[in-house]
């Protein structure tokens, strides 16, 4: 096959994106545990590990630019490089969201009424499945992930309501000292922010699926 070096670089690019996604998914899972348990040590690991994610992002970005400049990819090669270039941005942002989630657990952890684990794991599964579609070229999976996002959004909305309901109910029961009020507001604020971040992880998973569909079939149907 001609252009062996070029073909090797394309394959290396694909592998690098998959490795970055595995790292991000791993950090995201740790962040979920840190948030639920209020585990500051675990949370610190996630936050400190974000530099690694960012470094990979920059390395892959450089490679995409170099491939465009030096190899002028076309057709499916062009779509692989272009899709990868966009997907790593989504992965990097999921890494950032993981650091957010890890920080929310710095107190007592998130309120159980949110059923946060199931919610967060659903978003994580969507991202993992989107990356699996990128790896295997699974068109059907891309559409399925986009459809699952609607369910995730609805569950996030209900989780937010659960957090607010918790606020109202505890407000009736608690003493109204300023210390107690601040503590309650922190819990609600962290809960709402955590839900928002999970919902955004789902959106990034859909982005990955959309770029993957474009990569496979030159189809931009899922982009917006």
């Amino acid at each position: 096959m001609p252009r062996k070096t070029y073909q090797r670089r394309l394959e290396a690019l694909r592998e690098a994106v998959l490795e970055m996604s595995a790292l991000v998914c791993d950090r995201y899972e740790l962040a979920i545990e840190a948030a639920i348990d209020g585990d500051e040590t675990l949370g610190r690991r996630v936050v400190d590990g974000d530099d690694d994610v960012n470094e990979r992002y920059l390395r892959i970005e450089d490679e995409c630019v170099a491939l465009h400049a030096l190899q002028q990819p076309v057709a499916s090669d062009l779509r692989l490089v272009t899709a990868s270039f966009k997907i790593i941005t989504d992965l990097e942002r999921v890494g950032d969201l993981a650091t957010n989630l890890a920080a929310y657990g710095s107190d007592d952890g998130l309120h159980p009424a949110m059923e946060f684990r199931g919610l967060a794991e659903s978003a994580g599964d969507m991202l993992a499945d989107a990356m699996a579609a990128y790896e295997t070229g699974d068109v059907d999976a891309c559409y399925h992930i986009a459809a699952r996002d609607e369910d995730l959004d609805e569950r996030c909305r209900r989780a937010s309501q659960a957090v607010l309901r918790h606020l109202v109910e505890t407000d009736r029961a608690r003493d109204h000292s300023s210390e107690a009020l601040a503590e309650g507001l922190d819990a609600v604020s962290n809960g709402l922010l955590a839900v928002r971040d999970v919902e955004r992880v789902g959106d990034h998973a859909v982005n990955v699926a959309a770029r993957t569909l474009y990569m496979i079939e030159n189809d931009d149907e899922l982009l917006y």
Binding site: M1, P2, R3, Y6, Q7, Q72, P73, V74, A75, S76, D77, L78, R79, K86, D90, R93, D153, C156, R157, R196, E199, R200, D203, H204, V206, N207, A210, N218, D220, L223, Y224
Partner: protein, 290 residues
């Protein structure tokens, strides 16, 4: 809910709207599906079941295609695929090869150029040609450009036509004070533009270009590419190139010839280079074959 997808870049703008005005001025003769995003263009040249043989060897295999007027159409493919043979069929340059036999039709303005009553010399005035290597005559710059006009007995103001042609070839500013100097004294890139001026001086409708930049340095080549874009305002340009990036940069339509003289795919250039229909074309343009 907020949506992170809003952060993504805008879609690639594939439109080449700068040609809308030009397109609106084109008189319609034969509507084809040769659209370049801004609508259909009439056909300038068409091949119908074209087969070309050099002796027993078939160089073109049953090619049919319609080439739109006032567009740039690129012919690409590996060496020996027949793309230059196809180009040379359009103005009957292959007549000069004894063993060459042509079957099928090549129509220009609705007329089969291989009909007995077609004068090949007159045909070549309407369908000019620029070759791979600049080939100016050992004459002055003026005489190079005026040559075709004098051959056809042009009775008008030859100097005015020479100036017009040199301007059309983006060379006038560089040579207007040395029109009596030899064309051979120009740089390679200037010589090629001189050849283009020579080709457009007789006011052709179609310009055939056979790898016109392959002998030039990148700067000279980029000037020719810019010129080709300008020429398509007035002329139908059909270019053979081995440089696929060049085809992608400058052409509206791309035809991919592969081994055996087969036209495998012919479509808008964006389609060919983003998502070709045929695996063989994909393999060729991505470098996996050829």
């Amino acid at each position: 809910m907020s949506n992170a997808r809003e952060d993504t870049d805008e879609r690639t703008d594939r439109e080449r709207t700068d040609r809308d005005t030009r397109n609106s001025l084109i008189k319609t003769e034969v509507q084809t599906d040769a659209t370049v995003n801004e609508g259909p263009a009439p056909t300038a040249v068409a091949a119908h079941n074209l087969n070309v043989y050099y002796g027993d060897e078939q160089a073109i295999n049953d090619v049919s295609m319609e080439i739109p007027e006032k567009r740039v159409t690129a012919l690409i493919g590996p060496s020996g695929c027949g793309k230059s043979t196809f180009l040379r069929c359009i103005n009957r340059m292959n007549d000069m090869i004894d063993v060459c036999r042509v079957e099928g039709d090549v129509t220009f303005g609705g007329k089969n150029v291989y009909d007995d009553d077609v004068d090949p010399v007159a045909l070549r005035r309407k369908i000019g040609m620029v070759f791979q290597k600049p080939n100016p005559f050992p004459k002055s710059i003026r005489d190079n450009v005026a040559y075709g006009l004098e051959i056809q007995g042009y009775s008008g103001d030859i100097d005015a036509r020479v100036e017009e042609a040199l301007k059309g070839a983006a060379l006038w500013e560089e040579v207007n004070d040395q029109l009596d100097s030899s064309g051979l004294d120009l740089s390679g890139g200037q010589q090629q533009r001189l050849c283009i001026a020579r080709a457009i001086a007789p006011d052709p409708e179609v310009i055939l270009m056979d790898e016109p930049t392959s002998a030039l340095d990148p700067v000279a080549a980029s000037k020719i590419e810019d010129l080709i874009d300008d020429l398509a305002e007035e002329y139908t340009v059909i270019i053979v190139t081995h440089n696929m990036q060049q085809a992608a940069r400058i052409s509206d339509r791309t035809a991919v010839f592969l081994t055996g003289g087969q036209l495998v795919e012919y479509d808008n250039t964006t389609k060919i280079f983003e998502d070709p229909e045929h695996d063989r074309v994909e393999d060729y343009i991505t470098g996996k074959f050829g």
